[in-house]
Amino acid sequence: MSATLVAPPAAETLAEPIIELRGVSKRFSKTLDFAGRLAKRLGANLREEVVHAVDGVDLTIRKGEVVGLVGESGCGKSTLGRMVAGIMPPSDGTILWRGRDLRSLNAAEARNAKLRTQMIFQDPYASLNPRLKVQEIVGEAPLFHGMAKRSEIGTYVDEQLRRAGLDPSLKARYPHQFSGGQRQRIGIARALAVQPEFLVCDEAVAALDVSIQAQILNLFMKLRRELDLTYLFISHDLGVVEHLSDRVVIMYLGRVVEEAPAEEVFRHPNHPYTKALLAEVPRIEARKRAFAGVKGEIPSPLNPPSGCHFHPRCPFAFDRCRVERPALKQVGPGHRSACHLNDAA
């Protein structure tokens, strides 16, 4: 797969990679407990089930980039995001943080890498501990890690809240006293408080009203300028990703199927899956209907199709697709796609 690497364009060589995934996989296995094993002995149709949530993903994110990660529900976006954020170890493969294997870091370095990558979550209700005040939610980690002194924590927290667009005078309140959008801002302030360089936003606006969504997205872009942040922006909504991202990565059942600069994905999609997705996005109002029309059911990740995972739903599928997994190959500047059709040409 490395044979035909076209030299990357100048823009990509400018910044050094902040994070690199090399052949990263995550499997979840539901092992049978004692009762299950007993039932199996007695002839019940049970087996140990393994979900390949993420399957051999290579991905590089450079400093200052905004990478959009798109895919249908259950394709492993959140799992990938968690591994990138360092809160879930991969089952296979290597994650490099600034060129160094995460597993080779000592405790202090690993902690630093973890702090530098923060996550913004989807559910503004579940993502804040309901028993802590806003000032405790935002101030706990910087205080614990010695980023702010106890005597200064008040002003430190105020600054984070102001950055996230919240009135600091509300900091003695509890999360339940805020609206969804405000709660999301609290979550952002909590992340900013540990001075991250890289934000993983997992469906960070999906639960909000459309008008609030725009405010939060604008906040992300403002923070990007002010703090020089890098983003991995996870969404199932192509419309949200289009306006935000420099580069878009499309996932299907745990694998990356296409990866390209944002404009390129929308103008010259290569992979049949991406094309199917885009066909469903009316070019003017992209929102909400993103995946309505890819034909067929999403196959179960428990039992993915052989060869190219997309073949049961692909209008161009041919024999090779059913047996051989297509590799991600360069099809243009910074544009990679995993489809056997590219070989035929």
């Binding site: 092992t31 407990d33 004692f34 968690r82 954020a85 360092g86 809160i87 902690r111 973890k114 702090l115 990558t117 923060q118 996550m119 979550f121 989807q122 559910d123 209700y125 579940a126 993502s127 804040l128 501990n129 309901p130 028993r131 706990e140 980690a141 614990f144 890690h145 102001r162 950055r163 667009g165 919240l166 009135d167 005078s169 509300l170 003695a172 309140r173 509890y174 339940h176 006293q177 805020f178 609206s179 959008g181 405000q182 801002r185 979550g187 909590r190 992340a191 540990v194 405010q215 403002k222």
Partner: protein
């Protein structure tokens, strides 16, 4: 900062802590409030028994065997009025009940607290460790819960013999499983919530995440179960004592008082069993009233 939208203050006029909210929601039910007042009064009587009881029922010197089995309201030989009558030893029933409450509540609350600590720790361990540890602990819980509590307690006491500490021990053995199951259930749910992931992202140590973030959010169901289990423990202790395997005769609990009067019931001397029975009933009902309301207020499914 110029383009920042400063979010407007929400309508709520004042900072309301979750605890204040909880108190006002609890107080919304009059019957629960009544139960709470009743329970606090019972606790006060039990705690203050040595100061307010007309007689020390354990002090044999104060008892007059001639006053045995007097009817309620009778004035005894020493000019002492027995408002609730006396038992066969000439013991003032009112004082006996006050002291008996003390023993019953102590055994009930003591066993509940220890069982809660043991059960909650094991439940938390099961939820956090998962795998074999989880399976092992939960199979023990299943075993415990499938065995009738009273039978298990009787067997333990038959083996260990009477005694307050032995009763507490037996009650802990038969009750810890309820706490373990409850805590494990809520910890498994809470653990998956995003604020736990956020805490992990913030590189906080696991111990801190468990004790500062996970455990406090698992407390509500634990409090509900705990309240109900205190009532259950008191009833169990009464049953054990009634059957003669509970507390020693020198320190009678309510159950033992009822047992003492049992043989006189048919001869019309109802009060020896009847009044301790009423005290037991009122205690258990008051705890359950409080517990029911706690369950309603703390149940996350009824809120949000």
């Amino acid at each position: 900062m110029s383009t920042t939208t400063i979010a407007a203050a929400p309508a709520a006029p004042k900072v309301e802590t979750p605890f204040q909210r909880f108190v006002s929601e609890f107080a919304a039910s009059r019957i629960a409030l009544f139960g709470l007042v009743l329970f606090l009064a019972i606790v006060a009587i039990a705690v203050l028994a040595p100061f307010i009881a007309p007689q020390n029922p354990y002090d044999l010197a104060q008892l007059d065997i001639m006053d045995g089995r007097l009817e309620p309201g009778t004035v005894g030989a020493g000019g002492f009025t027995y408002w609730l009558g006396t038992d066969d030893q000439g013991r003032d029933m009112l004082s006996g009940i006050m002291y008996g409450l003390r023993i019953s509540l102590m055994v009930g609350a003591g066993s509940a607290i220890i069982a809660c600590l043991v059960g909650a720790s094991l439940g938390m361990l099961a939820a956090y460790a998962g795998g074999r540890t989880d399976s092992l602990i939960m199979r023990l819980v299943d075993l415990q819960l499938s065995f009738p509590a009273i039978l298990a307690a009787l067997m333990i006491l038959a083996f260990l013999g009477k005694g307050i500490l032995n009763v507490v021990f037996a009650l802990v053995i038969v009750e810890w499983a309820y706490y373990a199951r409850t805590v494990r259930g809520s910890a498994l749910v809470e653990r998956r919530r995003e604020y736990i992931e956020a805490a992990q992202c913030l590189a906080l140590p696991t111990r801190r995440i468990i004790f500062r973030h996970l455990l406090p959010n698992c407390l509500p169901p634990l409090i509900v179960v705990g309240t109900m289990q205190v009532a259950r423990a008191i009833a169990l202790e009464a049953t054990l004592s009634f059957l003669g395997l509970g507390v020693p005769i020198t320190e009678p609990s309510l159950g033992l008082l009822i047992a003492n009067g049992y043989e006189y019931m048919l001869s019309g001397k109802y009060w020896i069993s009847f009044y301790p029975g009423i005290a037991l009933l009122v205690t258990i009902v008051s705890i359950n009233l409080v517990g029911d309301q706690l369950r309603d207020v703390l149940n996350p499914r009824l809120k949000r």
